[in-house]
C-alpha cells in the first residue's frame, strides 16, 4: 500500500509506449490479503495484465478493476474460493493464479432456488 497512484500511472503510461506485449509491466499494485488461508487478494488500484500485486509478488494476467479479486492459487471447478479466511463461493471454471476472480468464474453456494448447502 505504499505506491503513489500518480507514480504508478506514469509508469504504466511509459510502459504502454514501449511495449506492445501485455506482459510484465512490472507495475506494482497495492493489494490486501486478509487471511493466510485466502485463495484471492483484493487489488486497491486498477491493475493491468503484467502488473504485480505487491503483497505476494504475483503477476496479474488480465485487467482487474479496483476492489476486485485476483487468484493467488489455482482453482479447479468446485474448489472453494476463500477471502477473510472464509469461503465466499466456489469456482465454476478453472482459475489460474493471477486471473481475475468474479461472477464469470466464481459463484455463491447459498441462497439458490436449486438447493441450499
Amino acid at each position: 500500500m505504499t505506491e503513489s497512484e500518480t507514480g504508478a500511472e506514469a509508469e504504466t503510461a511509459a510502459s504502454a509506449d514501449t511495449d506492445t506485449e501485455t506482459e510484465a509491466t512490472g507495475t506494482r499494485r497495492p493489494s490486501v490479503e486478509l487471511d493466510e488461508s485466502d485463495t484471492v487478494v483484493t487489488v486497491l488500484e486498477d491493475a493491468e495484465a503484467g502488473d504485480v500485486v505487491t503483497d505476494s509478488e504475483l503477476e496479474v494476467t488480465e485487467a482487474v478493476p479496483f476492489g476486485h479479486k485476483v487468484a493467488l492459487t489455482a482453482h479447479d471447478p468446485g474448489d472453494e474460493v476463500r477471502k477473510y479466511g472464509e469461503v465466499i463461493g466456489v469456482a465454476t471454471e478453472p482459475i489460474e493464479p493471477g486471473e481475475w476472480v468474479h461472477t464469470h468464474n466464481c459463484d455463491s453456494a447459498r441462497g439458490k432456488a436449486e438447493g441450499r448447502r
Binding site: G67, I88, G111, A113, E114
Partner: protein, 408 residues
C-alpha cells in the same frame, strides 16, 4: 464518562432531535402528511409510506408496530397521526402509545375534515400548535449509554468490508464498552457469515433464533422459485467487486463490531437501552431496514457506503461513512466521515475513534450531511403473501421456523 446533550422525554428516554412527526396511517394520506410537514415548521417531518388501508393481519400488525415505534421514537417531541378514515390499523392504539410515552399527539381524519385541502389546513394548525408546545425543550447532558445506534450499509463495494464497515464496527465496540446499544440488521446479508455471528451469540437461545431468522430469509427466496443471485449482491455491488452474497455478508457483519450478540429482535421491535450489540431481522433493502431500527428506538444511524449512498431518515440523523477513496472525492458533500484512508494505510482505531466522536457530536445536535440537504427517505417493509407462512404476525420470532434450524 462520555456524554452528549439531548432532550429528556417524560417517559425517561432521551432524544437527540426535537421533531414533530406527521405520520400517515396508510398510503391514501401519505401525500397529505408530506404536504402538512412541508407547510408546517421546519421541525415537522413526515413519514410517508406505501402501505394500504387494509392488508392481511400479520402485515397490518407489522405496519402498526413500525408506525407506533416511529411515533414514539425518543427524537419525536409530538406527533400528528393522519388517516383517511378507512384504515384497519389501530390509530387510536398508536395515539395511546404516544400519549403513554409522554408526548402530545393528535389524530387528523381527512374524511372528517371534509377533504384534503381542509385536512392540510387543519394539519398545519395542529403541527404549529405541537411545535409551539414543545419549543421550550432544552438539551441536557446524558450518558452515552442511553444511545441506541443503528448501523446500516448501502451501495456496498469491496471497500465496505475493508474500510467503512470495520471502522464503524470499532465505533460500535466503543459504544458497547461504554454501556450503550448498537444494532445492525439486513438478515439476507448474514448469509454466509452466520456461523461467525452464531459463535458470538450470548447463549444458545439467541443462537437458535438467529439461525432460524437466517434460514427463513434464505428459504423465502427459495419459496419464490427464485434465488438471491441477481439481487444479492446487487449489480452495483458486483461492479464494485463483490462476487457472492457470502463475500458481501462477511464484509457487512464487521460493521457491528466484535462484541457478543446479546439478542436478535423482529423487524421494528423495541431495542433495549444499554443492551450491547443487538441484531434486528430486516430485509436487505436499506431504507426499510433503517426504518425498522428507528421504529425500534434508535436515535441515530450510521450508514456505510462504498459506491455512494445519500439517503437520510425523517426521524433519526444518518451519519454517512464512506470507505471508497474515489467516491469520497466525487461525493464528499453527501458524506460525514472519510474511512477510505484505511485503504491507504490509516489505522482502524483512529478512524473508529473519529466515527465515535462524530456520533457524540451528532447526538448533541450537529447536523449530518443528509440533514443539511433535507434528505429524509422512509419506507416500511410490507410482508409479502409468500412470507406470511413464515411470519406469525405476533412479532415474537421465537417459535416460528425453529424447526427450520436443522442445518447441515
Amino acid at each position: 464518562m462520555d456524554t452528549f446533550d439531548g432532550y429528556r422525554r417524560p417517559d425517561g428516554r432521551i432524544g437527540i432531535r426535537n421533531i414533530v412527526a406527521v405520520v400517515p396511517l396508510s398510503v391514501a394520506v401519505s401525500a397529505v402528511a408530506t404536504r402538512i410537514a412541508r407547510e408546517g415548521p421546519e421541525r415537522a417531518h413526515a413519514t410517508p409510506h406505501q402501505l394500504s388501508a387494509d392488508a392481511p393481519d400479520a402485515t397490518l400488525e407489522q405496519t402498526r408496530r413500525v408506525l407506533e415505534g416511529v411515533a414514539t421514537n425518543p427524537n419525536v417531541a409530538g406527533a400528528v397521526l393522519v388517516e383517511l378514515g378507512t384504515e384497519r390499523v389501530d390509530g387510536e392504539g398508536i395515539a395511546d402509545a404516544v400519549a403513554a410515552a409522554g408526548r402530545p399527539v393528535e389524530i387528523l381524519s381527512v374524511r372528517e375534515c371534509g377533504g384534503t385541502a381542509a385536512a392540510v389546513e387543519t394539519g398545519v394548525e395542529l403541527v404549529d400548535d405541537l411545535a409551539a408546545e414543545t419549543a421550550d425543550a432544552r438539551r441536557e447532558s446524558a450518558d452515552v449509554s442511553e444511545l441506541v445506534l443503528g448501523v446500516e450499509c448501502g451501495g456496498s463495494d469491496a471497500t465496505s468490508g475493508l474500510a467503512a464497515n470495520p471502522s464503524v464496527g470499532n465505533a460500535c465496540d466503543r459504544l458497547v464498552d461504554a454501556g450503550g446499544t448498537a444494532t445492525f440488521s439486513e438478515t439476507p446479508e448474514f448469509i454466509g457469515a452466520e456461523h461467525i455471528l452464531a459463535e458470538r451469540c450470548a447463549d444458545s437461545e439467541v443462537r437458535e433464533k438467529l439461525l432460524a431468522y437466517v434460514d427463513r430469509r434464505e428459504a423465502t427466496a427459495e419459496l419464490m422459485g427464485a434465488d438471491l443471485r441477481g439481487a444479492q449482491p446487487s449489480p452495483g455491488n458486483q461492479e464494485g467487486g463483490l462476487t457472492t452474497i457470502e463475500e458481501k455478508s462477511l464484509g457487512a457483519i464487521s460493521k457491528g463490531g466484535t462484541t457478543p450478540v446479546q439478542d436478535i429482535v423482529p423487524y421494528g421491535s423495541d431495542l433495549p437501552v444499554g443492551g450491547g450489540l443487538v441484531l434486528m431481522d430486516t430485509p436487505g433493502y436499506d431504507i426499510e431496514s433503517v426504518t425498522g431500527k428507528v421504529a425500534g428506538g434508535a436515535q441515530l444511524v450510521i450508514f456505510t457506503t462504498g459506491r455512494g449512498s445519500t439517503t437520510g431518515n425523517p426521524i433519526a440523523p444518518v451519519i454517512k461513512v464512506c470507505g471508497n477513496p474515489q467516491t469520497w472525492d466525487r461525493m464528499a458533500s453527501n458524506m460525514d466521515v472519510n474511512a477510505s484512508t484505511i485503504v491507504t494505510g490509516d489505522d482502524l482505531e483512529d478512524v473508529g475513534e473519529r466515527i465515535y466522536e462524530t456520533v457524540l457530536e451528532t447526538a448533541s445536535g450537529r447536523p449530518t450531511a443528509a440533514e443539511v440537504r433535507g434528505l429524509r427517505e422512509f419506507a416500511i417493509n410490507e410482508l409479502q403473501p409468500n412470507e406470511l407462512g413464515y411470519f406469525d404476525g405476533e412479532g415474537d420470532g421465537e417459535t416460528v421456523g425453529s424447526e427450520e434450524v436443522s442445518r447441515s
